[in-house]
Amino acid sequence: MEVVLFWVFAILSVGGGVMVVLHRNPMNSAISLVVTMLCLAGLYVLLMGAFIAVIQVLVYAGAVMVLMLFVIMMLTLREDALQREGQPAVWVLAGIVGFLVVLRLARLFPSTPAALPATPDFGSIEAVGSQLFSHYLLPFELTSVLLLIAIVGAVILAKRTTP
């Protein structure tokens, strides 16, 4: 069961990723990206990261992608402005180079055995939360500062200034 789910999620996520890069229309790319993110959430569940999977669906597939879709709609790109990018030869070459890079990287990874049996609460909200509020408390607080800066920056940048 786990093997089947892994392969389904893996193939769907790689297919979604390829569609993100290849599609001419940004709207189709965004939808493919949602597929990839949902599949990654499924893979997180297989890796016993249930809390992270929920966060992935809520924040990435929900919030970030809605933001992207809104921007795509605001840009109102015309169909003729979306010309095809990159010659086919470039794409083929890029595919070959990417394949070689992946092969080289795959040799770096240790031929790890399957993971050790995890503790029953591994990856639960309690486990992640207690780490977050004890060992990683300072980064967690700094995250709030980062989000505040991002909000202020985004509002100021997107405010329409009449030159």
Partner: protein, 101 residues
């Protein structure tokens, strides 16, 4: 039982796809989406290593990474909107020369 290294290889594949998208595509929106793809690939390897080492710290890092990615998307898209309003026509990064004036 799936070995953890297959998750790592999948993560490498997704990262390379995202990197190629950033390098080849010239539409700024799709470049941003490829960046998100690369961040997601890194998140996958974090979660895989967290499972391998039985350490929840990797998942905490993914939590931070998602936050940073959300902030990056917000600011990046705001910059993109500003560029589009200034140029009125395009988000193609080859056509942008506002800084040259």
């Amino acid at each position: 039982m799936i070995p953890i290294s297959s998750y790592l290889v999948l993560s490498a594949v997704l990262f390379v796809i995202g990197a190629l998208g950033v390098l080849i595509r010239r539409n700024a929106l799709i470049m941003l989406m490829s960046l998100e793809l690369m961040l997601n690939a890194v998140n996958l390897s974090f979660v895989a290593y967290a499972r391998l080492l039985n350490d929840v710290g990797g998942q905490v890092f993914v939590f931070f990474n998602i936050t940073v990615a959300a902030a990056e998307a917000a600011v990046g898209l705001a910059i993109l909107l500003t560029i589009y309003h200034r140029t009125k026509t395009t988000v193609n990064v080859d056509d942008l020369h506002l800084m040259q004036r």
